[in-house]
Symmetry: C2
Subunit: 118 residues, 2 copies
DNA sequence: TACATTTACTACGTCAGGCGTAGTACGACA
DNA sequence: TGTCGTACTACGCCTGACGTAGTAAATGTA
């Protein structure tokens, strides 16, 4: 297995980003590190995917950007915070996830196909 | 909730179709009815999505088409059967699903956000 | 102090799957 | 006779993911 394909993860990137922004405002590089570690290295979001998600979600009003820097005052970066609309959107995505999971699982075999014990 | 978005279901349509073809060869209309009923009306595949999936999967060698008709001999239709490659592909998709589920769930809150009990 | 690496992005273009719209054709049913 | 259900095909658009490339400041390293 090579990992998670883009067709499968499509639609969940936004959810993952918003989940992390629920906790605190953050920025690209930090988010990408957190996705990697929280998924136990099982999923690494591509930079372009991440930044285009930021742009899209800001345009849709789910997040707001602001300029910030680290404690030392150096390293200017663009931070994002989640909005009320973003929270609502995140909740809708979670509900959709539960529904999707319920549906998809009906089409997934748990048994080993190769053993023919069915 | 409006249902399952195309971005979220993307990547699972093939899996659902192949699952049904594992049981027996079938054709477009029947598959679509089965997806609808098996998902308890929660997901209805679009015709164009279904038929383009057939074309794509046949090109990739996961399914094979053959001409058939119903018991009465009328109603000609194109049936599809799953190939060995299709079974392998289906199994890979199932494994990917388990992995995806594991990853996505880490980004889904079970608690109610609105009650702030966190 | 020179150079590589890490951090933190932006720009541009391509690709694939899903889907809207439309149309065809045949059989059943009323 | 006309509508509905069945069983597709054709065409083209849209969106999110992603490959490639480039920029630039900060940080680590020899």
């Amino acid at each position: 297995m090579t990992g998670i394909s883009s067709d499968v993860i499509r639609g969940y990137n936004d959810t993952m980003i918003l989940f992390l922004l629920l906790e605190k405002p953050s920025y690209g590089y930090e988010i990408s590190k957190q996705i990697k570690s929280l998924s136990q290295e099982k999923y690494v979001i591509k930079e372009t995917t991440l930044y285009s998600a930021f742009t899209r979600m800001e345009k849709n009003g789910y997040i707001q950007s602001f300029s910030g820097s680290d404690e030392t005052g150096s390293k200017r970066r663009t931070y994002y915070r989640i909005t009320e609309e973003g929270i609502a959107y995140y909740k809708a995505r979670c509900e959709e996830w539960h529904l999707t999971k319920e549906v998809v699982e009906k089409f997934i075999l748990k048994e080993e196909l190769s053993h023919g014990n069915n």
